[in-house]
């Protein structure tokens, strides 16, 4: 993971991406106990985005550093890494509001807990719901924070359904 942080910082310094932030299970583990995950998910903002091969420059940069595709991911050390361009106002804001964590001495941009929860809410699979519950239980985020952020991004109804199903006795 440290190797991934170094790669992403280098990618940003080279101007290949404007910004990045780790999200998904690997980011969630900052707050919760360890969870099983097969890959690392990284939100990226690419300068001049909108082109068809939006991820092309990222793949090229990785290739010059000796990192090559493996299925839909790029293998970086122990981790297959999925690069996901920001695709909604929610993910754009999650990237802008990401915080810089320290991973063994290397700065590593990571999506904050509230955004991790609301992105999971927007995806809505069973394992995403488990993720929200784990984040709430860890105290990394409160129900009020999730409710407020969900409402700002048109997910108030989804949050109410989640609360009814999992949180209200």
């Amino acid at each position: 993971m440290k190797e991934l942080a170094q790669l992403l910082n280098g990618m940003r310094e080279a101007g290949v991406i404007s910004d990045y932030a780790l999200f998904g299970a690997a980011a969630q583990m900052r707050y919760t106990e360890p969870v099983a995950t097969l890959d690392a998910d990284v939100l990226v903002k690419v300068p001049g985005s909108g082109r068809l091969d939006e991820l092309g420059p990222i793949y090229q940069f990785c290739a010059t550093k000796g990192y090559h595709p493996e299925g839909e991911a790029i293998r970086v050390g122990a981790w297959p890494v999925q690069f996901v361009p920001v695709f909604s106002p929610l993910t754009r804001e999650a990237l802008e509001q990401a915080e810089t964590a320290d991973f063994e001495g290397v700065p590593f941009r990571v999506v904050r807990a509230a955004y991790l929860a609301v992105i999971a809410l927007s995806v809505g699979r069973a394992k995403d719901f488990t993720r929200i519950l784990a984040l709430l239980e860890s105290g990394g985020v409160t129900r009020q924070e999730v409710a407020s952020l969900a409402a700002r991004h048109g997910l108030a109804d989804a949050w109410k359904r989640f609360e009814r199903r999992f949180l209200n006795e």
């Binding site: 998904g24 299970a25 106990e33 360890p34 099983a36 097969l38 122990a78 394992k127 860890s138």
Partner: protein, 63 residues
């Protein structure tokens, strides 16, 4: 019943202790678990042995 309650208490304490590990430590644990998940997946193909509930839980939770 008391034995079960004690066991659940110990399990909760163990889970809390894992939550308080540093992020890099948790990532390293996830890396170790990931290798196990991959092996479980490889051994639970259509012609493989019948999947156990533990294998199914790991498979469903991992992404």
């Amino acid at each position: 019943m008391n034995d079960i309650q004690e066991m659940l208490k110990r399990q909760a304490a163990w889970q809390r202790s894992r939550q308080s590990l540093t992020w890099p430590e948790k990532i390293r644990m996830a890396e170790m678990v990931r290798e196990s998940v991959k092996q479980l997946r490889a051994s639970s193909g259509p012609r493989g042995k019948q999947e156990t509930s533990a294998q199914r839980i790991f498979r469903d939770q991992a992404d």
